[in-house]
């Protein structure tokens, strides 16, 4: 069996975003990675809420829902146990993190934010993302309204509830094969060449000062085919049988773009996802071996 060697190149890495290109592998493998990123990379999220006082404009379950959606720093999530499998009685430091929240708007209208969650038990690292720089709004209180609650965050995966999804977005698309028919382009006037280059909404092509057209950013191509349509417009009766440009998809090249919620650094999400994928294969493998 011929085995290709997949290839990966990172093209962008910031605090929240990673972009990389995965080459020389099957779409099913690339898709498996995408699916695991969305639904099977474990994170921490609030899962149980006990409300003692709530005179806010929002009802109890709405606030509980919002609390669950707050992204929590989950770099250590993969080392924790799932509460349902933990050997403790109820929940403990190894499988959960508990917070208390009490806000009373005594000095006038006040916003209740993720900063108001006070950790009372569990891993110090598991706190709401962007706690002090850009707090997440939970509810707004008018004068003398109050909110008092306890909540417990647990480990989970996106498959069970989207709150445990570590990414805002993960996108995957094919790479582009773009080939210019240079002899045909030479036959175009400079004005038409400029029109052709301008037809691309993401500037895949450039026209240099000598009026030469070249493909400078094929990685930006999103297959809208505006350039192909423009070429057809130049030659509607199809007198020239060969087109100005050929645009096709590289079926073994995958451009990934991943935006993290902040719960886990984007590059770690990819690595965890690969580990989870191998773990799943291992789990199945164990059972096949037994017969």
């Amino acid at each position: 069996m011929q085995q290709r060697s997949p290839n990966v190149k990172i093209t962008k890495l910031t605090e929240h975003i990673v972009k990389f290109v995965l080459r020389d592998t099957d779409p099913s493998v690339a898709n498996a990675l995408r699916r695991v990123i969305i639904s099977e990379v474990p994170t921490m999220a609030i899962d149980v809420v006990e409300i003692e006082k709530n005179s806010s404009p929002l009802h109890d379950e709405l606030i509980a829902h919002r609390l669950g959606l707050i992204p929590l720093r989950s770099e250590t999530a993969h080392r924790k146990s799932y509460t349902r499998f933990c050997t403790c009685d109820g929940y403990c430091e190894q499988c959960a993190v508990e917070y208390h929240l009490y806000v009373k708007a005594t000095d006038g209208p006040r916003d209740v934010t993720s900063r108001d969650l006070q950790k009372v038990m569990g891993d110090d690292a598991v706190m709401p993302v962007d706690n002090s720089q850009d707090p997440i709004l939970i509810v707004k209180l008018a004068t003398n309204q109050e909110l008092k609650l306890k909540c417990v965050a647990k480990k989970g995966i996106g498959k069970e509830h989207a709150k445990w999804n570590p990414v805002e977005v993960v996108s995957m698309r094919y790479g582009a094969n773009i080939k210019l028919n240079q002899p045909a382009i030479e036959d175009l006037t400079p004005e038409r060449r400029a029109e052709f280059v301008g037809s691309c909404p993401v500037d895949v092509y450039t026209l240099d000062p000598t009026d030469k057209v070249s493909v400078t950013k094929p990685q930006k191509c999103m297959f809208c085919n505006e350039c192909v349509k423009k070429a057809e417009y130049f030659d509607p009766d199809n007198k020239d049988l060969t087109p100005l440009v050929w645009v096709s998809q590289k079926q073994d090249e995958f451009h990934f773009r991943l935006e993290s919620t902040g719960a886990i650094p984007p590059e770690d999400i990819v690595m965890r996802a690969l580990e989870v994928l191998m773990q799943k294969l291992g789990d199945v493998s164990e059972f096949v071996a037994r017969g």
Partner: protein, 118 residues
């Protein structure tokens, strides 16, 4: 008084061999719990790459049920053997991608401008 908690031993995979006089170890259906297209797709791909595979396909009988059925028929060798081999190869692919990703991380950190595409 001690409470008894029943612990169910749930099988991850069940192999249903064919019945009948012509059944051999070369054909089998595997019923796999709690898995879906995430590994079904790549497994099917890897099985097809194996020249010994005569038939390979998977289905999810109903989306509400966490069950996947994988059918393998071979021209030589056991279905279970070919299944195991494909799992191992997929695992290798995963490992390779992980190591390559870590390597490109280091590469990117040392020369970020060279690799950027924006």
């Amino acid at each position: 008084m001690a409470e008894e908690i029943a612990v169910e031993e749930e099988q991850k995979i069940e192999m249903v061999a064919d019945h009948g006089p012509n059944a051999t170890e070369r054909e089998a259906t595997f019923i796999i719990r709690d898995e879906d297209h995430t590994i079904g797709g790549p497994l099917r791909y890897m099985l097809h790459k194996n020249p010994a595979t005569d038939f390979a396909g998977y289905t999810i009988p109903h989306p509400s049920q966490p069950k996947m059925e994988l059918r393998i028929q071979t021209t030589r060798g056991s279905a279970a053997g070919v299944f195991q081999e494909s799992l191992d190869r997929l695992h290798e692919v995963g490992e390779h991608i992980l190591h390559t990703f870590i390597a490109t991380m280091d590469e990117f950190e040392s020369q970020p401008d060279l690799m950027a595409d924006d």
